[in-house]
C-alpha cells in the first residue's frame, strides 16, 4: 500500500499506517505485487471505496475464519510462476523445476477455490488453462508430490531408459572386470576409484596392463586405471543410449512447454486473479481478526463513528492484559477537543486518523458503525511529532514550519489532527494561535480535531466543542503499588466518553489528582492543591 501524498511519514507513524499495512498484507508473491501498488481512494471515489470495504466485510461475515486461515496457508505456499509463464510465452523450453511449480500452482488453485467456495462473493480462480496444464503435467507427479519426467509422457521413453540402464550395467561390468584383474595382478582386494597408490615395496614386476603412472615418488607410484577395449566400447554404447534418452526427454519438455505457451494467457489471468484474491483475503483476515465493519463512505469532510478503536494501541493493551475503551464521535468540519490529562484526547485523534486510513484504502473499519469521508491529505500537527524529529529548530519553530507546510499544500479536502498546538509559548499567545488556526481550518472547510487544554478556543473560532468527561470525581486515589496498578486504577476511574459540550467550559484537567495517582509524594500534592485554591 502506498500512502503517496495522502500523509507524510511522521503523521503515518502516529496514525498507525505501517501497522495497518502489516495487518492487511497478503501472503503470496501475486498478492504482494498487487498490494505494493495499492493507492488510497481519493474524494470522488466514495462509491468505489465503500463497495470494496463492503465486499470485504461481506466475505468476512460469510466465511468461517478457519477457512480464511486455510486459504491463506495455501496462498503462502504457492510458487511464483509469473517468470515461468513469461519464459514459456517467449517460446523457451521449460525445465523440470518449472513444471513442478506449474503443477503445484494449478493444483493449489483448486484447493484455494475449494476452501473459499462457501462464499458466493469469491469467484473461483482456476480456469480452463490451469486445468489443461494441470492435466498435461499430471503424469509427472511422484509419490513425494514432486515432479519427474516420467515414462508415461512419451511412448518411447521407457524403452530408451531401459536401454540406457542396460548399457550402464554393461559398462560397470566391463570396468569391474578390468578393476578386478588389475587388483588381482597387484595382489590387492580391490582398486578403489580410478586413481590409486601402488607402494613400490609391494610391486612384484611391472605394473599390470591398463595402469598408467600419473606420478612417481620414492616409495610409491600414483596411478590411474585406463579404460580397456571392452569398457571403451561399453562406454560408447552407454553414451549413445544416453544421447537417445536426452533427445527424448527434450522432446517431452518441448511438448509440455508448448502446452504451457498455448495457455499462457489463461495462466496469467489466473495469476492476476490470485493476486486480487490474496489482497482481498488479507483484508478479510484483518476484518475478522479485529471485528471491523464496512463504513459508509461519505462525500462530506466528516467522521462519525460508534465504538471505534485505534487498533495498534488495542493490540498493545491486549498483550499487557489491559482493557481498551472504544469511543464514539460525530465530527463534521472543524471542532475543538478538550479534556483531562490521560483522558485519551490524543488517542481520539489517532482513532479518527486510523478510521480515515482504513476508509481511504477501502477496508472495513474497527468500529461498530462508521461514516467517514475521503480526503486528499491527512496531517498531524503538535505533540508526538517532535519526538520523532530533531534538528536545529525549537519545538515551537518546528510546529510552525509544519503548519506552514500543511497550509501551503492547499489540499482541497484536508483532514487534520492538532494535538496541543502552541503549548510551548505563553498561554495567552498560544491560545491566540490556536484560535487563529482553528478559524482558518473552519474557513477552509477542513475536517479537523483540535485537542487543547486552553479555554474558549471553540467559541472564539466558531466551531463545535467536544470534551472527554474525565475522572469520575476521584480525589482520593487508591494506594497503587506500581505503575501498572496505577494505570489500572486510572482506567477504572476515567470516563473516556467524548461529549459535544456545546458551551465553552473546559473540564478540569485532573492533573493534580493524576500526579497523586502516579505516586508523587503527598506534600507535593497538597502544595499543588493549595496553589490551585489561591
Amino acid at each position: 500500500m502506498k500512502a503517496l501524498d495522502l500523509l507524510d511519514g511522521a503523521s503515518a507513524g502516529l496514525l498507525g499506517f505501517e501497522w495497518l499495512v502489516n495487518a492487511v498484507a497478503p501472503v503470496s508473491p501475486y498478492g504482494a505485487r498487487l498490494f505494493s501498488e495499492l493507492v488510497p481512494f481519493r474524494p470522488g471515489s466514495e462509491a468505489a471505496a465503500e463497495s470494496r470495504a463492503r465486499r470485504v466485510a461481506e466475505i468476512a461475515d460469510g466465511l468461517h475464519p478457519d477457512r480464511v486461515a486455510a486459504a491463506r496457508s495455501l496462498l503462502q505456499q504457492l510458487p511464483d510462476i509469473v517468470g515461468v509463464i513469461a519464459r514459456a510465452s517467449l517460446g523457451e523450453m521449460l525445465d523440470d523445476p518449472a513444471f513442478l511449480e506449474l503443477r503445484q500452482f494449478c493444483e493449489m488453485l483448486e484447493r484455494v477455490d475449494a476452501s473459499l467456495a462457501a462464499s458466493a462473493l469469491v469467484q473461483p480462480i482456476a480456469n480452463e488453462a490451469t486445468r489443461v496444464v494441470s492435466e498435461a503435467l499430471a503424469p509427472g507427479r511422484n509419490e513425494a508430490q514432486g515432479f519427474y519426467l516420467a515414462d508415461a509422457f512419451d511412448a518411447e521413453l521407457a524403452a530408451a531408459r531401459a536401454a540406457y540402464a542396460r548399457a550402464q550395467a554393461e559398462l560397470n561390468a566391463a570396468r569391474g572386470r578390468e578393476n578386478e584383474s588389475v587388483a588381482r595382478e597387484l595382489g590387492r582386494d580391490e582398486i578403489a576409484g580410478n586413481e590409486f597408490i601402488v607402494m613400490r615395496s609391494e610391486l612384484r614386476g611391472a605394473l599390470p596392463a591398463g595402469v598408467r603412472v600419473v606420478r612417481e615418488a620414492a616409495t610409491y607410484l600414483f596411478c590411474a586405471l585406463e579404460y580397456g577395449e571392452s569398457s571403451r566400447s561399453a562406454l560408447e554404447r552407454r553414451e549413445a543410449s544416453f544421447s537417445r534418452v536426452a533427445a527424448l526427454e527434450e522432446r517431452v519438455r518441448l511438448s509440455l512447454s508448448t502446452v504451457v505457451r498455448e495457455h499462457a494467457a489463461g495462466l496469467g489471468a489466473a495469476a492476476g486473479a490470485l493476486g486480487d484474491l490474496d489482497v482481498t483475503i488479507g483484508a478479510v483476515h484483518f476484518s475478522q481478526g479485529h471485528r471491523c465493519t464496512a463504513p459508509v463512505v461519505s462525500g462530506e469532510p466528516a467522521l462519525t463513528f460508534e465504538r471505534a478503536r485505534f487498533l495498534p494501541l488495542e493490540a498493545e493493551l491486549t498483550v499487557a492484559g489491559r482493557r481498551y475503551v472504544p469511543i464514539d464521535l460525530d465530527l463534521r468540519g472543524a471542532a475543538v477537543l478538550t479534556g483531562p490529562n490521560m483522558g485519551g484526547k490524543s488517542l481520539a485523534l489517532q482513532t479518527c486518523g486510523f478510521l480515515a486510513l482504513c476508509t481511504a484504502f477501502g477496508l472495513p473499519a474497527p468500529a461498530a458503525r462508521a461514516r467517514v469521508g475521503l480526503f486528499d491529505q491527512i496531517a498531524w500537527l503538535g505533540t508526538g511529532l517532535q519526538e520523532r524529529t530533531g534538528g536545529l529548530l525549537s519545538s515551537f519553530a518546528r510546529e510552525l514550519m509544519g503548519l506552514q507546510e500543511i497550509l501551503a499544500r492547499s489540499a482541497p479536502r484536508l483532514l487534520i489532527f492538532v494535538d496541543e498546538f502552541a503549548r510551548t509559548t505563553t498561554p495567552h499567545e498560544g491560545k491566540a494561535l490556536v484560535v487563529a488556526l482553528t478559524e482558518r481550518l473552519r474557513q477552509r472547510n477542513a475536517c479537523a480535531l483540535v485537542a487543547t487544554h486552553l479555554q474558549g478556543v471553540a467559541a472564539a473560532a466558531g466551531v463545535a466543542h467536544f470534551a472527554v468527561r474525565g475522572l469520575k470525581g476521584i480525589r482520593t486515589p487508591p494506594a497503587a503499588r506500581n505503575l501498572h496498578e496505577a494505570l489500572e486504577a486510572l482506567a477504572a476511574s476515567m470516563d473516556y466518553t467524548i461529549a459535544n459540550v456545546g458551551d465553552d467550559d473546559v473540564p478540569d484537567a485532573d492533573a493534580i489528582a493524576l500526579a497523586e495517582l502516579l505516586g508523587l509524594d503527598s506534600e507535593f500534592v497538597k502544595a499543588a492543591y493549595r496553589a490551585l485554591s489561591q
Binding site: D96, P97, Y220, F242, V245
Partner: protein, 284 residues
C-alpha cells in the same frame, strides 16, 4: 570399496544416520573419502542422501540417491525426480531436493549457513537411510543435535611437512573429541567461544570446574595452547561429537609424503582408526 565399507561400518556401529566428512584444509581427499563411503553404502542397498556446503565437483551418482543441488546446476538428462524446491539459497542460486532415477553425473550444491545445512540434512534424512555430508569444520555443529558421526580427512595439500599435517589433524580431532559435560559436577558455562587468552586466565586461576562450551567448534585455539588447555583444564561440551576415523591423502600437486608412514603417524597421533583410500590401507 573396502575402506568405504569399513568407514560405513564404524558409523553404523554408532548408529549414526549422518556422516560428516571434514578436512584440515583443501584437497586433502574429503570428497574421495565421502565417495568411498557412498559407493559402499549404495552397494549395501542403503538409500543414500548427499549434502554439501557450497558447490561440489560433478559426481557419478547411482539411481535412488537423494541429493541437494542448485536449480541452475540440474542437468537436463538424465532427468531426476524433483522432490521439492527448498527455500534455501546457495552461491549457485536457489536449492532443490532431487532423487536420481538413473545413474548419471550430477553437481551437488548446498546452503552455506549452518542452519541451512541443518535443514537440508533433516529434509534428506527423511527419505534416506544415511546422509553423507561433504562439510567444513565450521559447519560441523550441524551434527551436534543429530545422530551423526565425523570423519576427519588430512593430507599433504594442507601442510608443508608431514609432521605439520599430523599435528594439524591431531589438534582438530582432539578438539572435536572433547567429551560431554557431567551434569552432576560443578560447571562454568560459557555462552560464546573459549579462546586461548581465556584458557590461559582459567589456568592461572587454577579453575577446576568443568568449563562448558556449546560444542567443540566453540573452542577457538590450536597447537600448544590447545594441548595445554586440554591437559590442564576440564573442557567439556554441552553437545559432544562422535569422531569415528581419519583418512589421509599423501599426494598433493606440489609435494607428497610417504603414504605408509603418514598413515601410521596420523593413526598414532589421533588414536583413531585411520585409512588411506588411495592405497586401500587401514591402521586401526
Amino acid at each position: 570399496m573396502r575402506v568405504g565399507r569399513r568407514l560405513l561400518e564404524l558409523a553404523r556401529e554408532r548408529r549414526a544416520r549422518a556422516i560428516f566428512v571434514v578436512g584440515t584444509g583443501k584437497n586433502v581427499g574429503k570428497t574421495t573419502a565421502l565417495f568411498a563411503i557412498y559407493e559402499a553404502a549404495c552397494s549395501s542397498g542403503l538409500r543414500v542422501g548427499l549434502a554439501s556446503i557450497g558447490p561440489k565437483p560433478r559426481l557419478w551418482l547411482h539411481p535412488n540417491t537423494v541429493f541437494i543441488t542448485a536449480r541452475s546446476l540440474l542437468p537436463p538428462s538424465p532427468a531426476v525426480e524433483i522432490l521439492s524446491i527448498s527455500g534455501l539459497e546457495s552461491s549457485s542460486g536457489s536449492l532443490l531436493y532431487a532423487r536420481t532415477a538413473h545413474g548419471g553425473l550430477y553437481d551437488l550444491a548446498g546452503p552455506s549457513s549452518a542452519s541451512g545445512l541443518r535443514a537440508a540434512v533433516e529434509e534428506i534424512s527423511a527419505c534416506s537411510d544415511v546422509v553423507l555430508i561433504d562439510g567444513a569444520i565450521d559447519r560441523v555443529s550441524t551434527l551436534a543435535s543429530s545422530n551423526g558421526a565425523i570423519v576427519v580427512s588430512c593430507g599433504a595439500a594442507a601442510a608443508k611437512t608431514e609432521s605439520e599435517a599430523v599435528c594439524d589433524v591431531a589438534n582438530l580431532t582432539a578438539r572435536l573429541l572433547v567429551p560431554a559435560f557431567d551434569p552432576h559436577a560443578a560447571v562454568l558455562e560459557l555462552e560464546g567461544a573459549l579462546t586461548a587468552t581465556m584458557a590461559a586466565d582459567f589456568i592461572a586461576a587454577r579453575e577446576d570446574r568443568q568449563i562448558v562450551v556449546g560444542d567443540s567448534t566453540q573452542i577457538v585455539m590450536n597447537g600448544r595452547s590447545l594441548a595445554e588447555a586440554l591437559a590442564r583444564l576440564r573442557i567439556r561440551c554441552r553437545r559432544a561429537f562422535e569422531v569415528i576415523a581419519t583418512t589421509v591423502c599423501a599426494v598433493a600437486p606440489d609435494r607428497s609424503f610417504d603414504p605408509a608412514t603418514f598413515l601410521g603417524a596420523v593413526a598414532d597421533a589421533t588414536k583413531l582408526p585411520s585409512f588411506d583410500v588411495f592405497a586401500g590401507k587401514e591402521v586401526a
